[in-house]
Amino acid sequence: AGLLAGGLVGCGNSDTGGDAGDDGKIVLGFSQVGAESGWRTANSISIKDAAGEAGIELKFDDAQQKQENQIKAIRNFIQQKVDVIAFSPVVESGWDTVLKEAKDADIPVILTDRAVDSADKSLYKTFIGSDFVKEGRLAGEWLVEQTADATGPVNIVELQGTTGSAPANDRKKGFAEAIAANPNLKIVASQSGDFTRAGGKQVMEQFLKANPKIDVLFAHNDDMGLGALEAITAAGKVPGQDIKIITIDAVKDGMQALADGKFNFIAECSPLLGPQLMELVKKVHAGEEVPARVETEETTFTQEQAKAVLPNRKY
């Protein structure tokens, strides 16, 4: 039936779904989590741009934050016989079945941004992305360093990401691990701000009313930190001084706030992994060996560093 239908519609114009490799281009099927944040959008754009530059045909799918959709997309990539599949898993677990199908179809898989917890490591070729736990830890370590000579208790409030999401879980974990080094550091309140500015602001308003003395705010991303900034200002406190603010991501607005002295520290989580990914795709397609884990180039920023790099930040 496939043949027949194919023959009948052979003159169809936009035959983009055809078997790969007709023109020698590598076809990459990429399933993105969604467009839930500016970070994510930057990530998508980076991947698209890099694919264009590298001469790779990209089949981009947006899963709208649903694992089911990602699995569907991967199945369809398999049907379309793409050369390489890459995806940013919505959650860590639950990929074995569909990855096995990809393996059976001889399509190599690359994970980006988030890892999966599959026991069978042969199901994917490599992982490229950031380590959320590490980001949390970097943030915590900076704080420990800063408060090394603090005598009294240091009260921390935490703005978590969406409850149950991987970055929220891991950043919380990494941060908690790091600050355990100093018993003076105490998280007095921790709530979910859903990774949004509005959420961060709303939660911070209540934190400020419920806790007379807040020394440090740790926000799981810049946006919540930026929202909290407004709440802090409205409460008549000076962000960056009365309350030290530590965030993660380093998006442009966040870096601006850091440069302005309103934030104190940002651990970077770079979305710009497109070029690195395309390198990997080419290697994997050519059958070359690749490392099992590729970390994106990331760093941390203090206020001075932010001032220095801000003018030439793309994102």
Binding site: G34, A35, K201, V203, D223
Partner: protein, 356 residues
């Protein structure tokens, strides 16, 4: 019996009584947890305190829920309000961000007018699908709910547009007469909707259409026009809510702005005593409903309830709200308490009966 008692029964019989009780209980619980919860102070000439926060934060929800009340009264539902919030906020912020002087009042007003116009168009789209083409409201508005969010992200290119405009910011966090401006807007819109529906015959006609569309049509009501209108009003309310939400954080987030607000709005309407089947609607109830929902959210933060269990807490409160409101539920308890009404002695009247 004393008049105090009859007055009490009159009060407990009032539609708003039980929702208000729930609201007060929630506030009381917060006060027990943190006695300063109820305190309101004057800081820099602005009222400041958790109570004020609650009202200010519920302002957008109140707006959306007002529009939703009208839609629900016609027997419809509007799932697209969240997307309209996002689109209107995005359009306004995009326009302002492109102005050379973001603080110019003229620029901000143009932005508002533009965004409002777009929202009206979206409302008209919904209205057309439901009233003219006759698609079931839930599906008709689902289309815009999905596509509208895409539209909002298209407008913002998936980024968060940050603006720096004091006049615009005023909508979300400004103050007027020591009161947050958002509260004043919500009050004004509430008054407007109330006057529009209760001082004209619009309210009754909406209720007639929702109560029995065919009968209304045969009574000469232009039910299509009314149905169309309520979707436009709903979108307009959502647009203003969108301005408020984006102004609150001085940025437009196509993805997050107004996410799930449709559920909250419907919940507010239902808590307020309006039936999803259409017919009678109660604006006062809707507002109390919106306040309850916001108080609930704020309580989670203020009482520092673990985010992992916050939803369980919400579930319990929502169920409690609807249980105490349900006459059937209260009747079950009352029956146990008050004795059966003693039958009135049959009237002294001659009755005739024939033998069998």
């Amino acid at each position: 019996m004393s008049t105090a008692r009859t007055r009490l029964t009159a009060a407990t019989g009032h539609r708003l009584f039980w929702p208000l009780v729930v609201l007060l209980v929630l506030l009381a619980a917060n006060t027990v947890y943190r006695p300063s919860f109820l305190s309101v102070e004057l800081k820099n000439g602005h009222l400041y305190g958790s109570l004020i926060d609650i009202v200010r934060l519920s302002a957008p929800l109140i707006l959306v829920a007002l529009g939703m009340s009208l839609v629900i009264a016609t027997g419809g539902i509007d799932l697209s309000v969240g997307s309209v919030v996002a689109v209107s906020g995005a359009v306004a912020c995009l326009y302002i961000s492109e102005q050379p002087d973001q603080n110019s009042i003229g620029g901000v007003l143009t932005a508002l007018a533009l965004a409002f116009g777009v929202a009206l168009l979206l409302g008209a789209w919904n209205g057309t699908l439901v009233a003219v083409i006759g698609i079931q409201p839930i599906i008709a508005t689902l289309i815009l709910m999905v596509a509208g969010r895409g539209l909002a992200q298209l407008i913002t290119s998936g980024q968060i547009i940050t603006i720096n405009s004091d006049p615009y910011k005023m909508i979300g966090v400004g103050h007027l007469f020591a009161l947050p401006f958002a509260i004043i807007i919500a009050l004004a819109v509430t008054l407007l909707v109330a006057v529009l529906t209760r001082r004209t015959a619009l309210g009754m006609i909406i209720e007639a259409v929702g109560g029995n569309a065919e009968a209304s049509r045969l009574a000469g009501v232009r039910s299509r026009r009314i149905t169309f209108l309520v979707y436009v009003v709903s979108a307009a309310c959502a647009a203003v809510a969108g301005f408020m939400m984006t102004a609150n954080v001085s940025s437009a987030d196509g993805n997050a702005a107004g996410l799930w607000v449709e559920l909250d709005a419907i919940l507010a309407v239902v808590i307020g005593g309006t039936s999803l089947a259409g017919g009678r609607f109660h604006l006062g109830g809707t507002i109390v409903g919106a306040l309850i929902i916001q108080t609930l959210t704020t309580s989670v933060y203020a009482m520092n309830i673990d985010p992992q269990t916050a939803l369980l807490f919400k579930a319990v409160v929502v169920i409690a709200v609807c249980l105490v409101q349900a006459p059937a539920f209260r009747a079950r308890f009352r029956r146990r308490r008050t004795p059966v009404v003693t039958p009135v002695a049959p009237a002294e009247k001659q009755k005739e009966q024939v033998p069998a």
